[in-house]
């Protein structure tokens, strides 16, 4: 019972966002995953925010990313910054690619 109470308490604290806010899935790879210390997170942004606003918020949350030359995508397509966002969208933040 104590465990259950604690979990609900924590969830209550972390899940309450702005009314109508959007929830994005954020992914990191390679150098950005190492810099952020995680491979994914969930980001809440105000309704109407564009992809560039979301990227800015990611950089505020993970300032270690700022020293890298970054690219980003929305729903697996390269983004420019003006793309409108919806709840459930997938934002990925990564460095200039180096495959081949």
């Amino acid at each position: 019972m104590i465990g259950l109470y604690s979990l609900r308490h924590i969830c209550k604290n972390v899940s309450v966002g702005e009314p109508g806010s959007l929830k994005l899935k954020v992914l990191f790879f390679g150098a950005t995953a190492e810099a952020a210390g995680t491979r994914s997170t969930v980001l809440e942004i105000p309704p109407g925010a564009a992809s560039g606003n979301a990227l800015k918020k990611v950089l505020e949350l993970y300032p270690e990313l700022a020293s890298h030359k970054l690219l980003f995508s929305v729903n697996q397509t390269y983004a420019r910054g003006d793309e409108p966002l919806n709840t459930g969208d997938e934002l990925a933040v990564f460095t200039a690619v180096s495959g081949g």
Partner: protein, 142 residues
Amino acid sequence: MDFFELTTDPIDITSVSRRVIPPECGATVTLDGYVRKFTKGRETLYLIYEAYEPMALKEMQKLILQAKTDFEISNVGIVHRLGRLEIGETSVAISVAAPHRRAAFAACEWLIRELKRTVPIWKKEVYADGEEWIEGDRGAVV
């Protein structure tokens, strides 16, 4: 038949090359990209490749469609390896089949150049004395 794949298994370069051949073609150009031991004098022990897999596959498909629009070629196959690769192992194979060789050479060169610029795959170089994720020198890809 065109194909684009990511795999953690070793790449069989001959089978990639033979899979793209249709009857109207007379030449297949295949790039065998493999792990280099020395880069700018520094010794690599092995590489780790990582991809944003669903986006990498989409970008590979886009490259094939674009190449088939811009060059007189018939079929393209691209296979990129992920995970740990030892020195000399194939990291990427690109095969282009065409009625005539010239277009196949040109398309293959264009495909590897664009793949290295746009497909979300990264390599980590593990050296005798450290390791680093390699960051491409290209800016925003839009």
